[in-house]
Every structure is written in structure tokens, then in C-alpha cells.
Symmetry: C2
Subunit: 122 residues, 2 copies
């Protein structure tokens, strides 16, 4: 298979596992849907197929989002950040993005602000 | 200093360096501003002071966003994702979020979609 465009590959700053985090955002509502990880091949497939494709760290395999669930992500834009170490992927999400069935992976757990709630000595 | 609330700490899934990525989003426009990293103490300070605070991986020190630049982030909400391994921090960003002077760290580099641009054999 072809490699990722070298002009893009040379701008990526990968972690020790060869991965870059991808922030996934719904293109119109701008909801942040999830965070996933891409290696060079996942990014190449995402850019060329228009289907968001990630590297699954738990399964150690390529993962085309929605391939089993049907909750596909159609890619509208991919942006690289100023340091080349994070991607922003703007998608059109079919159905829920989260495996729990929630629209986004950030819907369930809002942390409390304001109080010093720590248990240790000051 | 006090520890991070144990009820929160036990829900975090940290990487090998003890860090969790934080997606930072402008609370009203929903622009994704940047991605940064937090350890337990950065999260505790973020939750209790209302000022977004990160762990700088390059400088290996705590980093209160805007402390030198004045481009502060005032925290509106912090959410933990379904796996406990990513934070979403909703802020009010003063001035540009990016050290380049751009509003967000994702403004400059839009990757080309669609074409098989790779150089290798098919």
C-alpha cells in the first residue's frame, strides 16, 4: 500500500508508540465527540478514504470507526496543530460517537469545580 | 498541598508518564483551542483555582496557562471521558490560545483530503 504523503509525515511529531492523538469534533455543532489515536497509516486512510480510521491501542489494530457499530464518521477536514503533535478531525458522526451509546464520550462525567476537595494535609 | 480528590483520582487512567490529555475548548464558540496534558496536581489546581493548569512535557514543570503571556484560560467546566483517559476542559480564553499568536493551535495547517498522495508502490 502507498505510504502517507512524505510532506505530511515529516511534519508529524509522534509519541514513543508512533502515534498522534486525534481530537474528533462534529463539524457543524462543534461538539467534541472523542479522542482517538492515529499512526501514519491510519492518517493516510483517513485522508484518502474519507472515513475516520484510528489505531486501537487496546486491540493493537487498525480501526475504521463504525465498521461494526455502523456509527461511522465521515471526514470533512483534518488539521494538524502548531507542534505537529495533535490532529483535529472534523467529521459528520452517524449516531452516537461513544461505545456507551452517548452522543459524545464526554457526556457522562462532569467534575466538580471550586472546592478544595482533596483529602491530604494542606 | 492537598491531593486530588480520591474519588476523581481513582477514575483517571494515566499514561506511562502519569499524564492524561486535556482537550481545551472555548465554552461558547466551541472552537477546539489546543491539546495539553495534566497530571493529578494540574487537574487539582485546574478544578480548585478555576485557571487552566497543565503539565509541560517539554519543560517538565507545572504550567498555569497565560501566567507569562497573559493569555489566561478561565475554566467553565471539566469533563472526564467514558474511559477516564481524556479530559475536556471548557474555558474562556483571553486572547490567542496558541503560542504563535493564532486563536487556536489548529488554525494554520489543513491537510489535503481525497487524493492518494503517497509515494510508495500500491
Amino acid at each position: 500500500m502507498p505510504d502517507l504523503d512524505p510532506a505530511i509525515a515529516e511534519r508529524l511529531t509522534r509519541n514513543d508508540a508512533g502515534l498522534v492523538p486525534a481530537v474528533v469534533q462534529q463539524h457543524d455543532t462543534r461538539e467534541v465527540l472523542m479522542l482517538a489515536w492515529m499512526n501514519d497509516e491510519a492518517l493516510r486512510q483517513t485522508l484518502t478514504t474519507g472515513r475516520a480510521t484510528y489505531w486501537s491501542r487496546s486491540r493493537q489494530e487498525m480501526w475504521v470507526k463504525g465498521e461494526t457499530s455502523g456509527h461511522r464518521q465521515w471526514v470533512h477536514e483534518v488539521r494538524l496543530d502548531c507542534d505537529g503533535d495533535t490532529l483535529l478531525v472534523l467529521v459528520d458522526q452517524e449516531g452516537p460517537a461513544c461505545h456507551t451509546g452517548a452522543r459524545t464520550c464526554f457526556d457522562a462525567d462532569r467534575l466538580p469545580l471550586g472546592a478544595e476537595t482533596g483529602g491530604g494535609p494542606a
